[in-house]
Symmetry: C2
Subunit: 192 residues, 2 copies
């Protein structure tokens, strides 16, 4: 979150930023900013604040975003197409390099510069040493696809399927449950 805010400051041409400004933009308290960043050994200079570029680089290094990462997309429906169109990956050093679907009508078509491949082509992944996958398939198909992804060497999965997924311990799944995020909004509203 801090990195995202820092990138936004950098894009606006700002070179230093106070914990107060960081806090306002990140939606937290400024003592929280100082506490969080002190874990990284980052201490803003009084009257000057934090170095926007330097702090962003440090966070990138800590989060291991300082080298390019390739990811694949499984499922090129509306959500998958939106993900391929999404321009936000590059700023985190991420690139979607391949997309897969089981629909024969979609296979072979090019969507936002990526040619859709048949699911059977997934087995070629191992050689390419790609470890990240984005899952944009219906919940009913998700577990089967995940089992296959694990087999071909995928280590991290970003899932949009609103269902729990079983994976071995060495594989990490991050789920984005869109409905849950919307559902918790009223709680925040009424508590203010």
């Amino acid at each position: 979150m801090y990195l995202r805010v820092l990138m936004s400051f950098a894009e606006r041409g700002m070179r230093s930023v106070s914990s107060k400004e960081l806090a306002r933009e990140a939606g937290v308290n400024d003592w929280q900013v100082r506490k969080d960043l002190s874990y990284f050994g980052e201490l803003g200079k009084p009257g000057v604040g934090y170095d926007v570029h330097g702090l962003a680089c440090d966070i990138r290094r800590i989060l291991r975003l300082d080298r390019a990462r390739h990811a694949i997309l499984i499922g090129v429906g509306n959500l998958g197409t939106a993900i391929l169109a999404y321009g936000g990956f590059a700023r985190y050093g991420l690139k979607i390099v391949a997309a897969f679907d089981k629909d024969p009508e979609k296979v072979g078509r090019e969507v936002h510069g990526i040619r859709i491949q048949d699911m059977s082509q997934l087995k070629g992944l191992r050689k390419r040493r790609i470890s990240l996958a984005i899952l944009a398939v219906p919940a009913s198909a998700a577990q089967e696809v995940v089992d296959y992804l694990v087999k071909v060497g995928i280590k991290g999965i970003l899932s949009f399927a609103a269902c729990p997924l079983k994976v071995p311990k060495k594989v990490k799944v991050i789920s984005i449950d869109i409905a849950m995020h919307l559902a918790i909004l009223p709680y925040h509203l009424s508590s203010e």
Copy 2:
């Protein structure tokens, strides 16, 4: 997260669940489950565990999910279409009741049972007392749309625009930055 896991247990016909089972499914430690649920005054019975239905109801009440909520969607591109197709809202008592786009070619068309309206129709919202909006417009248009949503009485916004949004204090924005979620995966992988 606990509610989601409990709903999944209920769908599988389970009536009671141990903190250990809850923990495994939620991806946390079982002491964390017991600690978290004790805040709600929930104590699983030794040898029996937690009552799946009762605990889910309590969490719904605490999160104010026990009454139906209407939401609107702004932006019916690929992402917006995927959101309209998404069946996961009902389980949280949420319903998308209207969709808006500024593209004249889209206005009037029906997508997954919702007729797309022109943005100018947003002003009719005040009377309908709808307070939640899902924002699926390009980042370049996001702030302008948000300013307008605030004017017509929207109090909670779920944003897919990968940019910070300025809103008055009484309005809550939850942002889903898809790229950020993907970007933090390698960090989790390498720390294990």
